[in-house]
């Protein structure tokens, strides 16, 4: 089915992916050997660039399943044809994100401890259960779709996956929502915000993977499904924007975190820039233009829009995770505080190379899993072009 030149290209691609993963592993090894001193993270900014990468991938892993859910749970044939790819991307992204999260641990060698000691009150421990659950459920779901005998089960499996991933993203949001002591995080809006964001980020990743696969096989997806998926992405981007603003507004008007909001949205150096220029303009408004403007219907515009959405999500997560820690903790209400430990001061952070390499290594893991499995399992969506046939489906 594949010719020689294609095979060569494929192996070159896999080798490139392997190289990125390898470099990421070296970075992780260096962090393990020298300690986190070689990263930009410190006692004030305790979570840094690796967490931006990891949380992006974990959130997108849940959102990318949306395509499968629309197919299985809501019974749309065109989406159903894409469900296997959606499931695969989910597993790949989750694996990539967890790899980064794990390798960033101070004691990554104690993985066995993490698996044998569960603290049931910890949201983190719940998330470990949720992640492993997602792996297994999506794997079963993929099986029900690809094994003819199991097809009847694919709908209930799809339902389970649908429910599970909503819970999973809620769990990711709760990791932050439970941090009541920090102005940036203790908000009940975080879980729904993360769910909607997951839809957008996951679909953007899906668009990229799909476009790459079609291009690789020298095919083009049908215009009708592209139109629908384009609009869907636009709606999710809008929805995310809405929740992000609702989160900042509630912070301003209900929680009275004016100091923090002024920092993030106006006076806080790099953070307002990343927020407005990175997330709002490049990551939301520009893609919306590409997605909804009637003159920009070529697939390449959708690809650009998806790339921008992903870029914007990194900007958003950087502001959310690092900006949220940079703003001083509110320990002494009514006082101005200072100390040798950064009390009352904006904390500074500059990400180091190993952090980026580790993050990209995680993306490499996701890429390798996707590329290899997509080829082995032949996951290119096969649309049924004829309208009558599709209606009969």
């Amino acid at each position: 089915m594949y010719n020689k030149a294609e095979s060569r290209n494929f192996y070159a691609l896999v080798a490139a992916g392997g190289l990125i993963v390898g470099i990421g592993l070296i970075a992780a090894y260096l962090m393990e050997e020298h300690g986190h001193i070689i990263t930009g993270m410190n006692n004030q900014i305790v979570w840094g660039m690796p967490h931006v990468f990891a949380i992006f991938m974990i959130v997108a892993a849940s959102g990318v399943l949306n395509v499968a859910s629309v197919g299985s749970v809501f019974g749309r044939a065109a989406y159903k044809a894409r469900a296997p790819l959606s499931g695969l991307l989910s597993i790949a992204l989750l694996a990539g994100g967890l790899t980064v999260l794990m390798l960033d641990l101070g004691r990554a060698d104690r993985l066995i401890v993490a698996m044998t000691h569960y603290n049931l009150t910890s949201v983190f421990a719940w998330n470990v259960v949720l992640y492993s659950g997602l792996f297994s459920f999506v794997a079963i779901y993929l099986w029900t779709m690809m094994e003819q005998r199991m097809n009847p089960w694919s709908k209930p499996a799809g339902f389970v996956v649908f429910a599970w991933r909503i819970i999973l993203t809620t769990g990711t949001g709760l990791i932050f929502a439970f941090l009541v002591a920090r102005q940036a995080y203790g908000s009940a809006l975080l879980p729904p915000m993360f769910i909607v964001a997951s839809f957008a980020w996951g679909l953007a990743v899906f668009h990229l993977a799909q476009a790459a696969m079609y291009a690789w096989n020298g095919k083009t997806p049908g215009p009708e499904i592209m139109r629908r998926m384009r609009i869907l992405l636009g709606i999710f981007v809008l929805g995310t924007l809405y929740f992000v603003f609702a989160y900042h507004l509630t912070n301003l008007y209900f929680a009275k975190q004016t100091g923090f909001e002024q920092f993030i949205l106006a006076g806080g150096g790099i953070f307002p820039w990343l927020f407005w220029a990175g997330y709002v303009f490049l990551g939301s408004l520009l893609p919306l233009l590409f997605l909804f403007h009637s003159g920009l219907h070529k697939t390449s515009y959708t690809v650009i829009a998806s790339l921008l959405v992903i870029l914007g999500s990194f900007a958003f997560l950087y502001v959310f995770i690092i900006g949220g820690q940079a703003y001083p903790l509110f320990i002494f209400p009514g006082y101005e505080a200072s100390s040798s430990f950064g009390d009352g001061q904006i904390a500074s952070y500059s990400p180091s190379l190993p952090e980026f390499l580790l993050g990209f290594g995680g993306i490499g893991v996701a890429f390798l899993i996707t590329a290899i499995s997509a080829r082995v399992l032949n996951l290119l969506p096969h649309d049924i072009p004829d309208r009558r046939k599709r209606d009969a489906y």
């Binding site: 300690g35 001193i37 006692n43 101070g106 004691r107 000691h117 910890s122 990791i175 040798s340």
Partner: protein, 244 residues
Amino acid sequence: MSAINPERRKFLGKTSAVFAGLVIAPGVLLYDFAHGRAAGEAASGRVRWGMLVDTGQCASDCNDCVSACNKENGLSGGTSATDSQWIRKVELKDLRSGRTTSLPVMCQHCEHPPCADVCPTGASFRRADGIVLVDKHRCIGCRYCMMACPYKARSFVHEPLTDQNPDVPRGKGTVESCTLCVHRVDRGEQPACVEACAKAGRRAILFGDIADPESEISKRIRAVASAQIRADLMLNPGIRYEGM
């Protein structure tokens, strides 16, 4: 600090007798004084260790508690963003009156510690006698506890260490914080910062069993106005502050 402080002299005079006693019969005297436990006995849930800090006695130019902590626990004493600081002096300025206050801040040894709630492996935990600790054998270095602590009391060990104090094992890749000098308390001694503060003639930190109504600290908590930091979070810290 260099000028002779008459208060301090008087205090030293009075306490030297006590210190002499400590030197002669450390086991006997301190055991009764601070509930030192016998060998093989576990920490008791009937005890809750705590501190009362009198900010009125704490001077902004005095750092003795911090130095003593560093020495006792083998910390480098560096104050860069990646150095561990188990206790720090915080200078406060009242935004309305302009009054300034100086006070030490360390792990507040909460009754409901958020660090322990969020810790995925149960490495952060509260010992029966109220001391909040990191079980470094279980800590995987995820730093979620540092995100959760409202007092920013925790540090992460960013580099490999050597020559640790035998009583205070510390190592790269794990989170740590004030242990209330658990190794000293278990021997029936006071935490190093408390001792140093007394030695400096200030006695700004009172240490004791706040679950025992007859203890000096409990009596004082009943007698004077004191507050917990971020009491609104309902964590019920074991460290209280006077004069804030």
